[in-house]
Symmetry: C3
Subunit: 670 residues, 3 copies
């Protein structure tokens, strides 16, 4: 491959295919879109023409308009002022820039919350969340819904036929600040949701195990959200409330979508997910089916695994999109404003971050926001034009990237090329595994998944990050980190995968509970015991300063299990040499009819995981697609003919004649 390296900055001229069924409503050749949230209402009209000119300079092809414009578009109930938005839409159109138009319902205007304070969310402590920020609305408020849908209809009727319009953007970052509402509206909606799920009180009592702590429910009206209680609230009530809360916002998405599809059936509908870091309230694996194409917002997380987390999130977003291209709705050109310390990006990071999203399937690369605000809560959040103006290093880097993406038009529409290995990601296990009253409250579900991902990167082996319900056909190795919630049906699917020759690896605290958070009895991990060939009598979590050593040289933290192997066939790949489990198995491998199933019983971190993963890969017959000297240094992503090589190090890498700079990304057409 090294001999064929050619930077697509210099253009390839080949037309890419568009494969997804529903993408932006636009004509013309396929292309990668480039742009930002554009909030012209924050600026005097005379700035707008300057904006349009600079957008062309930067290679902008698309903007998102209207995200927080409700108060200006509907200054009084039922009275609209569309003039300024007409103007902005037209301005974009004459400049050849497409518009992803928001329904503008993300934040209700002051007149609405003043007239109807009953739409404000309420915390578990009973504290009302007042206006002053954004998203001050209850997902279950009928009053809010009525007002939001009226505006949605008005927007659809006004702009459905506008030539600049290419997609609808429902609300914005649904659930970023209002995912959990404990109001009486929420209580009523929660009851309805539970009736739908359980049908009878008996079924609900059984699922919630209300025989414990005198919680037997004898009427639906007795059901409450898990508001602040005297002691630990019922765990299944908590889990169901998380499910309900995700569904309540999904329902809002569906409601706005229904209006849009009715009025403008030809315009695709999306909403921007937030697959990133610890944002965990919205089950996007479940939401993905509700949008015409998947969109995501991603901001680089601080810390040493920042780059890998970006890649992981992009990869998972691709998984949510079923491998089809998706829309990066927001990321940042440089610093954000909401971390304790907001570090500016270094030269090269801007392009590297954006290109990594493209590598994992983004066909649109957009920022929050076009022009950095001079005022308001996000004025220190970077934009495409910084406070310093166009005469700035940052704006020049933005324009460079715009040019580069323009040259990559042939890539547009190309789906990602599946890997042979996959990591399963499951929102319900995330929610359930991190609940209170557990063996340890230190467990972090997503961090464990990310550590596995880093281990794959360190070994130079591609792995797809998939929602747990995704088909596993074609994968040779599937890793299930902390797959805590395993209903019988999932156990069957995993067993079938192994019986069909697949290789499965599970970790500590997997397979412990069913869909109702009831423990599978008889020894852990209940429904996976036979498949894994092990039985665990007791969990043995570790204190913060405790570490255990394995005989393969690795070190474990956080957790150990007291494992007995069930048959002689089970190989012990590593044993504990210290701690209470010294002499017992730490990592096991059960060759079974067709395939095999492995188990890792402690937190090994990326380095320790790379050791055992190497062994698992070898047994699954998977090798790196990278030359040996590039493994771990270069990250590889493949979309059809296009190979993305991303420098993971702080040093330049010699790719056989071509020097890949630190933070460099090269795209090679095979």
């Amino acid at each position: 491959m090294a001999a064929k390296i050619r930077d697509v900055r210099h253009g390839t001229g080949v037309q890419g295919q568009v494969s997804q069924s529903r993408w932006l409503r636009r004509t013309g050749a396929a292309r990668l879109e480039f742009g930002a949230d554009y909030n012209p209402e924050q600026w005097p009209r005379e700035v707008w023409d300057d904006d349009a000119r600079a957008m062309r300079t930067a290679g902008v092809t698309i903007v998102t308009l209207g995200v927080f414009s409700w108060a200006l578009l509907e200054p009084a109930e039922g009275e609209y002022d569309f003039g300024w938005l007409d103007d902005a839409m037209d301005l974009m159109h004459v400049n050849g820039i497409a518009v992803d138009l928001a329904t503008a319902t993300a934040s209700p205007p002051p007149w609405l919350t003043t007239k109807h304070p009953e739409i404000l969310p309420v915390t578990a402590d009973g504290v009302t969340l007042w206006p002053g920020g954004r998203q001050q609305w209850r997902p279950t408020s009928a009053v809010f819904r009525t007002h939001a849908l009226r505006l949605t209809r008005a927007m659809a009727e006004r702009y459905g036929g506008h030539p600049a319009l290419v997609a609808w953007h429902v609300s914005n970052e649904l659930g970023c600040h209002n995912i959990y509402d404990y109001s009486d509206d929420a209580a009523a909606a929660f009851r309805l949701w539970l009736r739908e799920r359980y049908a009878t009180l008996d079924a609900l009592n059984a699922a919630w195990a209300t025989a414990f702590w005198s919680q037997h429910l004898s009427a639906w009206e007795q059901v409450l959200p898990p508001r602040t209680a005297a002691s630990f609230p019922n765990p299944t009530q908590q889990l169901d409330f998380k499910r309900f809360s995700s569904d309540a916002l999904k329902d809002h998405l569906r409601a706005e979508r229904a209006v849009l599809r009715e009025v403008t059936p030809d315009v695709p509908v999306t909403t921007n997910f937030m697959v990133m870091g610890e944002t965990k309230g919205m089950n996007y694996a479940d939401w993905a089916a509700e949008v015409d194409f998947v969109s995501n917002d991603h901001y680089v997380q601080p810390g040493p695994q920042g780059r890998d987390e970006l890649s992981f999130s992009a990869n998972l977003t691709g998984g949510l999109a079923g491998g089809r291209p998706w829309f990066l709705m927001e990321h940042s050109t440089s610093a954000v404003n909401w971390q304790p310390v907001n570090v500016a990006k270094r030269p090269g990071e801007l392009a590297r971050d954006s290109m990594t999203h493209v590598a994992y399937g983004a066909d649109a690369v957009c920022y929050f926001q076009w022009r950095q605000s001079a005022a308001g809560a996000e004025k220190y959040h970077s934009g495409m034009i910084p406070h310093a103006g166009e005469d700035s290093t940052l704006f020049r880097a933005v324009a460079d990237l715009g040019k580069r993406l323009g040259d990559l038009a042939p890539l547009a529409g190309t789906p990602r090329t599946p890997a042979r290995a996959a990591i399963l990601f499951d929102w319900e296990s995330w929610w359930a595994a991190e609940a209170d009253s557990h063996p340890t409250d230190r467990l972090r579900y997503r961090q464990e998944a990310l550590d596995w991902y880093t281990a794959f990167l360190d070994l130079g082996v591609r792995a797809d990050v998939l929602p747990v319900a995704a088909p596993l056909d074609g994968y040779d190795l599937v890793v299930a980190p902390i797959l805590h919630v395993v209903p019988a049906s999932l156990a069957s699917r995993l067993t079938a995968f192994v019986q069909a020759g697949g290789h499965l690896v599970a970790t500590y605290f997997s397979g412990v509970v069913d869909e109702n958070d009831h423990v599978w009895l008889g020894g852990y991990p209940g429904p996976l015991r036979d498949l894994l060939g092990i039985r665990i009598e007791e969990f043995a979590p570790l204190l913060d300063d405790e570490r255990v050593t394995l005989d393969n040289g690795s070190t474990g933290t956080l957790w150990t299990d007291r494992i007995d192997v069930s048959t002689e066939d089970v190989e012990v790949l590593a044993r504990y040499t210290t701690g209470d489990q010294a002499g017992r198995p730490a990592v096991t491998w059960n060759p079974t009819a067709g395939g095999a199933a492995g188990y890792v019983s402690t937190r090994l971190g990326p380095q320790g995981l790379a050791t055992v993963l190497g062994e698992f890969l070898s047994r699954a017959g998977i090798e790196s697609e990278l030359p040996p000297d590039q493994r771990g240094k270069v990250e590889l992503a493949i979309r059809g003919d296009f190979h993305f090589l991303i420098n993971r190090t702080d040093e330049p890498i010699d790719l056989g004649g071509y020097l890949l700079a630190a933070d460099g990304v090269v795209v090679v057409r095979e």
Copy 2:
């Protein structure tokens, strides 16, 4: 003694005496009881027979039933469903298992809190504590009281004559989650309580020192609980609210007891205390007189002094029981679920922990709970039968212990043999010494008492832990750590003890205030100045990173005092060599008519305390009852003829031919 060592595992056959006036209502030979909370309502009926069989296997003699059964026993107001409990009671009886029956009022059912949300507790911030966990009731709610007493009466009438019934268990862990309630009900009850205590507003104003900060009360209705305030609330108001809150729950205990005694005068009544760790809201020294026998729940606290804390708590529980045997109502076979990290017990720890309670007077050893829950908030709390089932190391260890306790039947009823030394423990000093606006907020009352206890253990000398009001006759040395609240009457008692030849040791921040938290003037420690022969002009607490050195080689933290000795008779046992008090006394000893009184002015920790305690013991003429090579390694407890030797180390100890394993406990009949 070493020559006589014989493990009672092998049986002694001698009948123990039963000395307490009121113990379980049962016939047959005295025995040590063994069992658990049993919650059959969490399991299908077919499991119950299996339970009964396994209980017999494990040597179970008693279970507690009905603790959280209100919602199932009274599914609607005034409508009872006793059928399932009849069944369970009968099942126990036919299997020879006694029942400690709960009044089932620990947590109100959802229908009750739905109908009467005004029984829910309210925090100091005004946050309502909702259902979802347990104990969601105001101790002062008349509505709750009415419903709870109706159920109590129904239970008493239904089961008073059942042959399995041996004791009533009022509510459960009273105050675990609802000790402090700031509702309007609480306010009203607090006013009544204060009228009872002070009779007149003038007396209340004087006690609360309301001349300070314009707080003069001119009507009773102006009194409030110490709800969240703009600044530090009145300290006497806070102290009285703590007293009132303890009394409010004690009043609930008395109310249920009154019903039970009326209906079933022959059945003893108890409730499970929580003498452990930082559980400090309930003044158990005051509650102990209200029960027919003392019961306690204890869970091992994390940290290096975990074993000593267990021993300390068991010892103090024995003190509350006046030296008579008591009932260990709950402890755990292995991990709990409510700590940040819940560590499983290692082999041997189960028996060691249980036997330690027996050593200090427990005649019943029970767990929470019989069968580990598959669901609910405590599903990761260990039980006698773990999730893994009977085929488990844990269940086998449980059955071993059951056998061992069976063999120890001769011990049953034997009171503890008083030591010559004692440590005083005072809930009021605990509350007052840790209040806000003090010289330091780092002071920890119970930790200081525990450190003294560890020092006694390290020296191999037995010490009884006694409530402050206990008679001191017969003790040669009494240590009063941080005895902060010293009313005049207590000062007189302590003085009389010394005058009668006793040796008293007090520490820093002792004798500072009277019962109203008013400082004794003229130099600290006011009412003990003459007794101790010292006068302190100013406290000199230490910053977190400050340490001072004493000329006896010890190191002090947390606190120092600027001490002047009052007479030439006072010996300075140690002086500060560093810090602001360098050259001044750190530890003093005042030989006075009859006995002597010592003072320790800094926090020395267990090791430093052992040094000064050695000196105090020597002067009090107290020697270890252990051979020199066992002191510090072996913990000794004595109940009549029975000597308990507990290995405090992680290594086996040679007891002169008999090897006491790590975590081992041996019982020797002299």
Copy 3:
């Protein structure tokens, strides 16, 4: 100077001049006042005579009476009981002690909050702040105002003619606990305040940038305080609420003052500020014009810069007083009670602390409080007579100081002698620079100012600490640490200062926003770019563990800037040698018409600042007034003929024959 050293303890006999227009209403020779808050109502009547005798022993000349006496003075609405206060006033008068009489409105009595709970403050979370502490009143409550003014009038009418009365003390520590109230009263008052500031909603919308996040206000009733919101509240709303909250209390001060001036026009009015540490809610630069003379409360802050902070606060208080003498209303003789650990003062500290205030302009030295309380929330706060009584080291030290202040009578009325350098202090920059959603939340405005002050002290150069609006005429060097808020008018003033030959130094995050917290565009620091000769494209804050090195040997933390210098004239005084800005300027100096302007782009801490400050001083032609061997060790303050030399070290210093003890202060008359 060394040759002339003479300790004024031994008396100088020269009469000082009194220069301020309005000081205490008393006759007789000018003197330094000495005293305390006196709360006789906390003690039996028989103690009062003892108090008066001991006050004379201690040299007390003035006391503050009645601060928290409302509940006793007005035991029921409109019914007064002045008898005891008459008695106390008379007792002071016959003992020759003046009285600074409080209006007694600091804390409302229980009868008032019981009858009118609607005067209680409410937090941003909606939590009511109940009685129990002090200051439980909403600054904007009309009900509270009515009651407070009625009492004020009654006090004025009763005592206006009393011969002991020398000043009125309005309320007490206004805002200590009730500066931020989010109640409906506050909301209504905030709207009125905003109407006054902005006149039109259009102007308010523009200032608050409500186009962001759909916050456009279409009616005044929609305005709310920044109560707890779903996300970051509007920053200008927050800043205006801080301004409003300061003004609301200032309005209360004016309202009480109006009553006092009407009834007793000849009695000066003051209120005690809290210029100390992180007390930042009250804009005292704005309040200072409202009092007849400035009073301050100061408590030594824990930590290594405690002494310098005391000096800084005293210096700033002098700045607020326009250089005229001021009244130290409260400080402590030894420990306080509200820190986590409350350390007693060491010998010598008492006098050193008090004398430092005198050095910077205090003509009255008073404590909280005369006799340490035996009960109540502040019973562990030291007093002039400690719990131990008059027979104590502490009381003897108090009496020594009283004698020393008596001897210093000639100093009374002498204004401070201006320094040639100044540090600007700006409450609005403090508020705005530490707001949320910023480049870093680690920035501490006052700490940076204090670090500069320490650097001046370390170099032995005097600097006045001035409110930002103070005239700069006569200063050669003005340092503006984090002068974040720079309206156009302030930029003009600073430019004029430099054009007139002045030397200005600004630091990181200065000149970033205007009075509405809107960023000045085109590159930072907008309105100071030309003056400083630099342009910054992006901020580059540092993570907690990041440090950067400068080529002058200093180390920077917290912050860096990406600086470009604008012209060749700009000197780069130090460059970064590590980090993302390596090679770029860190400290710059722009010689410009008349004067020069320097910039420091990172946090250097006192030591690093001393390096660059030395250079700045040299360029401004300012030299230390101390001999070289005393610089850094001795702190110099000058009031006319009187030079104060304060030992900043823990060792004695040889002042040329005179040995200045550790913690020593010597006053030399030139």
